[in-house]
Symmetry: C2
Subunit: 223 residues, 2 copies
Amino acid sequence: MPTIEIRRAVYEANDERAGRIRAGLSSRGIFTVNILGSPGAGKTSVISRLAALVAASPRPRPVAVIEGDVASDIDTRALRALGIEAWQIETGGDCHLNAAMIEGILGRMTLADKSWLFIENIGNLVCPAEFVIGEDLKLVVASAAEGSDKPYKYPTAFARSAACVLTKTDIAEAVGFDEDFFRAGWEAVSPGAPLFPVNGRTGEGAAELLSWLEEVAAARPEA
Amino acid sequence: MPTIEIRRAVYEANDERAGRIRAGLSSRGIFTVNILGSPGAGKTSVISRLAALVAASPRPRPVAVIEGDVASDIDTRALRALGIEAWQIETGGDCHLNAAMIEGILGRMTLADKSWLFIENIGNLVCPAEFVIGEDLKLVVASAAEGSDKPYKYPTAFARSAACVLTKTDIAEAVGFDEDFFRAGWEAVSPGAPLFPVNGRTGEGAAELLSWLEEVAAARPEA
Protein backbone atom coordinates (compact mmCIF):
# COMPACT_ATOMS: atom_id res chain seq x y z
CA MET A 1 0.00 0.00 0.00
CA PRO A 2 1.38 3.41 -0.96
CA THR A 3 0.47 5.01 2.40
CA ILE A 4 2.58 2.51 4.31
CA GLU A 5 5.47 2.96 1.89
CA ILE A 6 5.33 6.71 2.29
CA ARG A 7 5.15 6.39 6.05
CA ARG A 8 8.22 4.17 6.08
CA ALA A 9 10.06 6.62 3.83
CA VAL A 10 9.13 9.46 6.22
CA TYR A 11 10.50 7.55 9.22
CA GLU A 12 13.69 6.59 7.39
CA ALA A 13 14.39 10.12 6.20
CA ASN A 14 13.71 11.41 9.71
CA ASP A 15 15.95 8.81 11.37
CA GLU A 16 18.79 9.59 9.02
CA ARG A 17 18.52 13.31 9.65
CA ALA A 18 18.24 12.74 13.41
CA GLY A 19 21.39 10.64 13.29
CA ARG A 20 23.27 13.48 11.60
CA ILE A 21 21.98 15.98 14.19
CA ARG A 22 22.99 13.76 17.07
CA ALA A 23 26.45 13.13 15.65
CA GLY A 24 26.97 16.86 15.20
CA LEU A 25 25.84 17.70 18.73
CA SER A 26 27.73 14.82 20.34
CA SER A 27 30.97 15.79 18.61
CA ARG A 28 30.71 19.12 20.41
CA GLY A 29 29.98 17.55 23.78
CA ILE A 30 26.36 18.71 23.76
CA PHE A 31 23.96 16.37 25.57
CA THR A 32 20.42 16.44 24.24
CA VAL A 33 17.30 15.41 26.12
CA ASN A 34 13.96 15.01 24.33
CA ILE A 35 11.18 15.54 26.86
CA LEU A 36 7.78 13.93 26.28
CA GLY A 37 4.57 14.27 28.22
CA SER A 38 0.88 15.10 28.17
CA PRO A 39 -0.35 18.67 27.99
CA GLY A 40 0.19 20.16 31.44
CA ALA A 41 2.35 17.32 32.75
CA GLY A 42 4.87 19.86 34.02
CA LYS A 43 7.56 19.54 31.35
CA THR A 44 8.46 23.23 31.35
CA SER A 45 8.65 23.38 35.13
CA VAL A 46 10.99 20.40 35.21
CA ILE A 47 13.22 22.03 32.59
CA SER A 48 13.30 25.32 34.49
CA ARG A 49 14.24 23.48 37.70
CA LEU A 50 17.06 21.63 35.96
CA ALA A 51 18.32 24.84 34.36
CA ALA A 52 18.33 26.63 37.72
CA LEU A 53 20.31 23.81 39.32
CA VAL A 54 22.83 23.80 36.51
CA ALA A 55 23.23 27.58 36.75
CA ALA A 56 23.82 27.32 40.50
CA SER A 57 26.48 24.62 40.18
CA PRO A 58 30.17 25.50 40.68
CA ARG A 59 31.17 25.05 37.04
CA PRO A 60 27.93 25.40 35.12
CA ARG A 61 27.53 24.02 31.63
CA PRO A 62 25.53 26.30 29.34
CA VAL A 63 21.84 25.38 28.96
CA ALA A 64 19.61 25.90 25.94
CA VAL A 65 15.97 24.92 25.55
CA ILE A 66 13.90 24.30 22.44
CA GLU A 67 10.17 24.55 23.09
CA GLY A 68 7.79 22.69 20.80
CA ASP A 69 4.16 23.75 20.67
CA VAL A 70 1.29 23.46 18.26
CA ALA A 71 0.57 27.13 18.93
CA SER A 72 1.79 29.93 21.21
CA ASP A 73 5.16 30.81 22.69
CA ILE A 74 3.94 30.93 26.29
CA ASP A 75 6.58 28.53 27.60
CA THR A 76 9.44 30.16 25.75
CA ARG A 77 8.51 33.52 27.22
CA ALA A 78 8.21 31.99 30.70
CA LEU A 79 11.67 30.41 30.44
CA ARG A 80 13.24 33.59 29.07
CA ALA A 81 11.70 35.54 31.96
CA LEU A 82 13.70 33.20 34.21
CA GLY A 83 16.88 34.04 32.31
CA ILE A 84 16.97 30.72 30.46
CA GLU A 85 17.92 30.63 26.77
CA ALA A 86 14.83 29.33 24.98
CA TRP A 87 13.83 28.97 21.36
CA GLN A 88 10.32 28.30 20.07
CA ILE A 89 9.14 25.88 17.41
CA GLU A 90 5.48 26.45 16.62
CA THR A 91 4.32 23.58 14.46
CA GLY A 92 1.05 25.20 13.43
CA GLY A 93 -0.82 21.93 13.81
CA ASP A 94 1.73 19.14 13.70
CA CYS A 95 1.45 16.81 16.65
CA HIS A 96 5.15 16.08 17.19
CA LEU A 97 8.58 17.52 16.55
CA ASN A 98 10.65 15.96 13.81
CA ALA A 99 14.32 16.07 12.94
CA ALA A 100 13.85 18.63 10.17
CA MET A 101 12.31 21.10 12.61
CA ILE A 102 15.24 20.64 14.99
CA GLU A 103 17.75 20.99 12.18
CA GLY A 104 16.04 24.21 11.13
CA ILE A 105 16.12 25.83 14.53
CA LEU A 106 19.65 24.64 15.36
CA GLY A 107 20.76 26.56 12.28
CA ARG A 108 19.61 29.77 13.97
CA MET A 109 20.98 29.02 17.45
CA THR A 110 24.53 29.58 18.65
CA LEU A 111 24.96 26.61 20.93
CA ALA A 112 28.06 26.58 23.12
CA ASP A 113 30.12 23.39 23.25
CA LYS A 114 29.37 21.16 26.26
CA SER A 115 25.84 22.55 26.58
CA TRP A 116 22.79 20.82 27.91
CA LEU A 117 20.11 20.95 25.22
CA PHE A 118 16.61 20.31 26.53
CA ILE A 119 13.93 19.87 23.89
CA GLU A 120 10.35 20.04 25.11
CA ASN A 121 8.25 18.11 22.64
CA ILE A 122 4.58 18.79 21.84
CA GLY A 123 2.27 17.97 24.76
CA ASN A 124 1.15 14.59 23.46
CA LEU A 125 1.85 11.10 24.82
CA VAL A 126 1.36 9.38 21.48
CA CYS A 127 2.98 10.77 18.33
CA PRO A 128 6.22 12.29 19.69
CA ALA A 129 7.25 8.81 20.87
CA GLU A 130 7.51 7.68 17.24
CA PHE A 131 10.19 10.14 16.17
CA VAL A 132 13.83 10.58 17.06
CA ILE A 133 15.03 14.15 16.71
CA GLY A 134 18.73 13.87 17.49
CA GLU A 135 18.44 13.26 21.22
CA ASP A 136 20.75 11.27 23.47
CA LEU A 137 17.73 10.11 25.40
CA LYS A 138 14.04 10.66 25.93
CA LEU A 139 12.50 11.55 29.30
CA VAL A 140 8.79 11.11 29.89
CA VAL A 141 7.12 13.48 32.33
CA ALA A 142 3.79 12.40 33.85
CA SER A 143 1.81 14.14 36.55
CA ALA A 144 -0.01 12.46 39.41
CA ALA A 145 -3.08 14.43 38.32
CA GLU A 146 -3.21 12.42 35.09
CA GLY A 147 -3.89 9.22 36.97
CA SER A 148 -1.90 6.12 37.67
CA ASP A 149 -2.73 4.21 34.48
CA LYS A 150 -0.70 6.20 31.97
CA PRO A 151 2.17 3.70 31.41
CA TYR A 152 -0.46 1.07 30.59
CA LYS A 153 -2.40 3.30 28.21
CA TYR A 154 0.54 4.96 26.42
CA PRO A 155 3.19 2.24 26.52
CA THR A 156 5.32 3.45 23.61
CA ALA A 157 6.07 6.87 25.12
CA PHE A 158 7.08 5.23 28.38
CA ALA A 159 8.97 2.31 26.86
CA ARG A 160 11.10 4.56 24.66
CA SER A 161 12.04 6.87 27.55
CA ALA A 162 15.21 6.25 29.52
CA ALA A 163 13.66 7.63 32.69
CA CYS A 164 10.30 8.77 34.00
CA VAL A 165 9.72 12.01 35.88
CA LEU A 166 6.66 11.98 38.11
CA THR A 167 5.31 15.45 38.93
CA LYS A 168 2.58 16.93 41.11
CA THR A 169 2.85 14.21 43.73
CA ASP A 170 1.91 16.83 46.34
CA ILE A 171 -1.68 16.50 45.10
CA ALA A 172 -1.53 12.72 44.75
CA GLU A 173 -3.92 12.14 47.62
CA ALA A 174 -6.39 14.80 46.45
CA VAL A 175 -6.63 13.19 43.01
CA GLY A 176 -6.55 9.58 44.21
CA PHE A 177 -3.22 8.77 42.55
CA ASP A 178 -2.06 5.18 43.10
CA GLU A 179 1.74 5.42 42.95
CA ASP A 180 2.28 1.67 43.30
CA PHE A 181 0.12 0.96 40.27
CA PHE A 182 1.91 3.67 38.30
CA ARG A 183 5.33 2.32 39.27
CA ALA A 184 4.32 -1.22 38.35
CA GLY A 185 3.25 0.02 34.91
CA TRP A 186 6.50 1.90 34.42
CA GLU A 187 8.52 -1.12 35.53
CA ALA A 188 6.57 -3.36 33.15
CA VAL A 189 7.38 -1.27 30.06
CA SER A 190 10.85 -0.09 31.15
CA PRO A 191 12.31 -2.74 33.45
CA GLY A 192 15.00 -1.34 35.73
CA ALA A 193 14.76 2.22 34.42
CA PRO A 194 14.68 4.97 37.04
CA LEU A 195 11.70 7.04 38.12
CA PHE A 196 12.25 10.47 39.62
CA PRO A 197 9.53 12.25 41.58
CA VAL A 198 10.08 15.98 40.94
CA ASN A 199 8.01 18.79 42.37
CA GLY A 200 7.96 21.48 39.72
CA ARG A 201 6.75 24.12 42.16
CA THR A 202 9.41 23.60 44.86
CA GLY A 203 12.15 21.92 42.85
CA GLU A 204 12.24 18.96 45.23
CA GLY A 205 13.68 15.93 43.48
CA ALA A 206 15.22 17.85 40.57
CA ALA A 207 18.76 17.44 41.95
CA GLU A 208 18.46 13.65 41.83
CA LEU A 209 17.24 13.82 38.23
CA LEU A 210 20.10 16.13 37.25
CA SER A 211 22.68 13.89 38.96
CA TRP A 212 21.41 10.95 36.97
CA LEU A 213 21.51 12.93 33.72
CA GLU A 214 25.08 14.00 34.51
CA GLU A 215 26.09 10.38 35.06
CA VAL A 216 24.55 9.31 31.77
CA ALA A 217 26.16 12.23 29.97
CA ALA A 218 29.56 11.44 31.49
CA ALA A 219 29.28 7.79 30.48
CA ARG A 220 28.44 8.60 26.89
CA PRO A 221 31.18 7.43 24.53
CA GLU A 222 32.96 10.37 22.94
CA ALA A 223 31.86 10.87 19.38
CA MET B 1 3.39 16.97 -3.36
CA PRO B 2 2.19 13.38 -3.10
CA THR B 3 2.11 13.39 0.73
CA ILE B 4 -0.29 16.32 0.80
CA GLU B 5 -2.49 14.73 -1.85
CA ILE B 6 -2.66 11.50 0.13
CA ARG B 7 -3.42 13.39 3.31
CA ARG B 8 -6.27 15.23 1.59
CA ALA B 9 -7.62 11.97 0.22
CA VAL B 10 -7.50 10.44 3.70
CA TYR B 11 -9.47 13.34 5.15
CA GLU B 12 -12.04 13.26 2.34
CA ALA B 13 -12.61 9.53 2.62
CA ASN B 14 -12.93 9.88 6.38
CA ASP B 15 -15.36 12.81 6.15
CA GLU B 16 -17.56 10.95 3.70
CA ARG B 17 -17.66 7.88 5.93
CA ALA B 18 -18.33 10.00 9.01
CA GLY B 19 -21.22 11.66 7.19
CA ARG B 20 -22.77 8.28 6.47
CA ILE B 21 -22.33 7.18 10.09
CA ARG B 22 -23.91 10.34 11.41
CA ALA B 23 -26.85 10.12 9.02
CA GLY B 24 -27.47 6.53 10.09
CA LEU B 25 -27.33 7.33 13.79
CA SER B 26 -29.41 10.50 13.47
CA SER B 27 -32.13 8.70 11.56
CA ARG B 28 -32.56 6.48 14.61
CA GLY B 29 -32.61 9.38 17.06
CA ILE B 30 -29.17 8.53 18.46
CA PHE B 31 -27.20 11.55 19.63
CA THR B 32 -23.44 11.15 19.42
CA VAL B 33 -20.85 13.06 21.42
CA ASN B 34 -17.15 12.86 20.55
CA ILE B 35 -15.14 13.61 23.69
CA LEU B 36 -11.62 15.01 23.36
CA GLY B 37 -9.03 15.73 26.02
CA SER B 38 -5.50 15.16 27.26
CA PRO B 39 -4.47 11.93 28.97
CA GLY B 40 -5.98 12.03 32.44
CA ALA B 41 -8.23 15.03 31.82
CA GLY B 42 -11.14 13.12 33.35
CA LYS B 43 -13.04 12.12 30.21
CA THR B 44 -14.11 8.73 31.55
CA SER B 45 -15.29 10.20 34.85
CA VAL B 46 -17.39 12.80 33.04
CA ILE B 47 -18.96 10.07 30.90
CA SER B 48 -19.72 7.92 33.93
CA ARG B 49 -21.35 10.89 35.69
CA LEU B 50 -23.51 11.65 32.66
CA ALA B 51 -24.50 8.01 32.32
CA ALA B 52 -25.47 7.82 36.00
CA LEU B 53 -27.62 10.93 35.68
CA VAL B 54 -29.34 9.57 32.58
CA ALA B 55 -30.00 6.26 34.30
CA ALA B 56 -31.52 8.06 37.29
CA SER B 57 -33.85 10.20 35.18
CA PRO B 58 -37.60 9.41 35.05
CA ARG B 59 -37.59 8.23 31.44
CA PRO B 60 -34.01 7.26 30.77
CA ARG B 61 -32.63 7.01 27.25
CA PRO B 62 -30.23 4.11 26.73
CA VAL B 63 -26.54 5.00 26.95
CA ALA B 64 -23.64 3.38 25.15
CA VAL B 65 -19.99 4.30 25.32
CA ILE B 66 -17.15 3.65 22.90
CA GLU B 67 -13.73 3.93 24.52
CA GLY B 68 -10.75 4.77 22.34
CA ASP B 69 -7.27 3.98 23.62
CA VAL B 70 -3.85 3.38 22.15
CA ALA B 71 -3.55 0.40 24.48
CA SER B 72 -5.48 -1.25 27.32
CA ASP B 73 -9.17 -1.58 28.13
CA ILE B 74 -8.91 -0.09 31.61
CA ASP B 75 -11.66 2.47 31.04
CA THR B 76 -14.04 0.03 29.40
CA ARG B 77 -13.71 -2.31 32.35
CA ALA B 78 -14.24 0.56 34.79
CA LEU B 79 -17.41 1.68 33.01
CA ARG B 80 -18.76 -1.86 32.77
CA ALA B 81 -18.14 -2.29 36.49
CA LEU B 82 -20.51 0.65 36.95
CA GLY B 83 -23.13 -1.09 34.82
CA ILE B 84 -22.54 1.10 31.79
CA GLU B 85 -22.51 -0.45 28.32
CA ALA B 86 -19.00 0.15 27.01
CA TRP B 87 -17.05 -1.01 23.96
CA GLN B 88 -13.31 -0.75 23.46
CA ILE B 89 -11.37 0.35 20.42
CA GLU B 90 -7.66 -0.28 20.92
CA THR B 91 -5.82 1.47 18.12
CA GLY B 92 -2.49 -0.24 18.76
CA GLY B 93 -0.59 2.99 18.18
CA ASP B 94 -2.86 5.30 16.22
CA CYS B 95 -3.20 8.69 17.87
CA HIS B 96 -6.87 9.37 17.07
CA LEU B 97 -10.11 7.59 16.25
CA ASN B 98 -11.30 7.71 12.67
CA ALA B 99 -14.63 7.02 11.02
CA ALA B 100 -13.61 3.55 9.83
CA MET B 101 -12.89 2.46 13.40
CA ILE B 102 -16.31 3.72 14.51
CA GLU B 103 -18.04 2.03 11.58
CA GLY B 104 -16.30 -1.21 12.50
CA ILE B 105 -17.36 -1.23 16.11
CA LEU B 106 -20.90 -0.01 15.41
CA GLY B 107 -21.29 -3.11 13.28
CA ARG B 108 -20.80 -5.23 16.39
CA MET B 109 -22.98 -3.16 18.74
CA THR B 110 -26.75 -3.33 19.10
CA LEU B 111 -27.57 0.29 19.73
CA ALA B 112 -31.11 1.06 20.81
CA ASP B 113 -32.96 3.87 19.04
CA LYS B 114 -32.86 7.22 20.88
CA SER B 115 -29.64 6.30 22.66
CA TRP B 116 -26.92 8.59 23.85
CA LEU B 117 -23.66 7.50 22.28
CA PHE B 118 -20.58 8.84 24.04
CA ILE B 119 -17.28 8.27 22.24
CA GLU B 120 -14.15 8.84 24.29
CA ASN B 121 -11.39 9.67 21.86
CA ILE B 122 -7.67 8.93 22.41
CA GLY B 123 -6.15 11.05 25.18
CA ASN B 124 -4.53 13.61 22.89
CA LEU B 125 -5.35 17.28 22.43
CA VAL B 126 -3.91 17.44 18.92
CA CYS B 127 -4.73 14.76 16.35
CA PRO B 128 -8.31 13.78 17.34
CA ALA B 129 -9.41 17.36 16.63
CA GLU B 130 -8.66 16.82 12.93
CA PHE B 131 -11.13 13.99 12.35
CA VAL B 132 -14.90 13.75 12.37
CA ILE B 133 -16.17 10.30 13.28
CA GLY B 134 -19.92 10.68 12.90
CA GLU B 135 -20.57 12.84 15.95
CA ASP B 136 -23.26 15.45 16.46
CA LEU B 137 -20.78 17.51 18.41
CA LYS B 138 -17.38 17.44 20.06
CA LEU B 139 -16.82 18.18 23.75
CA VAL B 140 -13.37 19.04 25.03
CA VAL B 141 -12.51 18.03 28.60
CA ALA B 142 -9.63 19.84 30.31
CA SER B 143 -8.50 19.55 33.90
CA ALA B 144 -7.38 22.39 36.13
CA ALA B 145 -4.26 20.32 36.82
CA GLU B 146 -3.19 20.76 33.18
CA GLY B 147 -2.82 24.51 33.64
CA SER B 148 -4.75 27.49 32.39
CA ASP B 149 -3.00 27.89 29.02
CA LYS B 150 -4.44 24.90 27.18
CA PRO B 151 -6.91 26.76 24.88
CA TYR B 152 -4.01 28.94 23.73
CA LYS B 153 -1.67 26.02 23.12
CA TYR B 154 -4.13 23.59 21.53
CA PRO B 155 -6.56 25.95 19.77
CA THR B 156 -7.93 23.47 17.22
CA ALA B 157 -9.26 20.99 19.78
CA PHE B 158 -10.96 23.80 21.66
CA ALA B 159 -12.23 25.68 18.60
CA ARG B 160 -13.86 22.58 17.12
CA SER B 161 -15.63 21.67 20.36
CA ALA B 162 -19.17 22.90 20.99
CA ALA B 163 -18.57 23.09 24.74
CA CYS B 164 -15.73 22.81 27.21
CA VAL B 165 -15.83 20.72 30.37
CA LEU B 166 -13.45 21.88 33.07
CA THR B 167 -12.57 19.18 35.61
CA LYS B 168 -10.58 18.92 38.85
CA THR B 169 -11.36 22.49 39.88
CA ASP B 170 -11.27 21.29 43.50
CA ILE B 171 -7.47 21.26 43.21
CA ALA B 172 -7.30 24.53 41.26
CA GLU B 173 -5.69 26.42 44.10
CA ALA B 174 -3.18 23.66 44.88
CA VAL B 175 -1.96 23.65 41.26
CA GLY B 176 -2.13 27.43 40.73
CA PHE B 177 -4.87 27.24 38.09
CA ASP B 178 -5.93 30.66 36.74
CA GLU B 179 -9.56 30.15 35.73
CA ASP B 180 -9.97 33.67 34.30
CA PHE B 181 -7.05 33.13 31.93
CA PHE B 182 -8.42 29.74 30.91
CA ARG B 183 -11.91 31.16 30.29
CA ALA B 184 -10.48 34.04 28.25
CA GLY B 185 -8.64 31.52 26.07
CA TRP B 186 -11.75 29.40 25.62
CA GLU B 187 -13.83 32.48 24.76
CA ALA B 188 -11.19 33.59 22.25
CA VAL B 189 -11.30 30.35 20.26
CA SER B 190 -15.00 29.53 20.81
CA PRO B 191 -16.84 32.83 21.31
CA GLY B 192 -20.11 32.40 23.18
CA ALA B 193 -19.76 28.64 23.63
CA PRO B 194 -20.50 27.27 27.10
CA LEU B 195 -18.02 26.05 29.67
CA PHE B 196 -19.14 23.56 32.32
CA PRO B 197 -17.12 22.94 35.46
CA VAL B 198 -17.70 19.28 36.36
CA ASN B 199 -16.25 17.49 39.33
CA GLY B 200 -15.69 13.93 38.20
CA ARG B 201 -15.31 12.65 41.74
CA THR B 202 -18.53 14.12 43.19
CA GLY B 203 -20.57 14.62 40.03
CA GLU B 204 -21.07 18.31 40.80
CA GLY B 205 -21.85 20.20 37.61
CA ALA B 206 -22.67 17.13 35.51
CA ALA B 207 -26.43 17.89 35.63
CA GLU B 208 -25.88 21.28 33.98
CA LEU B 209 -23.80 19.66 31.25
CA LEU B 210 -26.44 16.99 30.65
CA SER B 211 -29.25 19.58 30.52
CA TRP B 212 -27.33 21.47 27.87
CA LEU B 213 -26.71 18.29 25.85
CA GLU B 214 -30.41 17.46 26.09
CA GLU B 215 -31.31 20.90 24.76
CA VAL B 216 -28.93 20.55 21.86
CA ALA B 217 -30.19 17.04 21.12
CA ALA B 218 -33.82 18.21 21.24
CA ALA B 219 -33.07 21.11 18.90
CA ARG B 220 -31.41 18.88 16.32
CA PRO B 221 -33.38 18.77 13.07
CA GLU B 222 -34.88 15.33 12.51
CA ALA B 223 -32.92 13.41 9.92
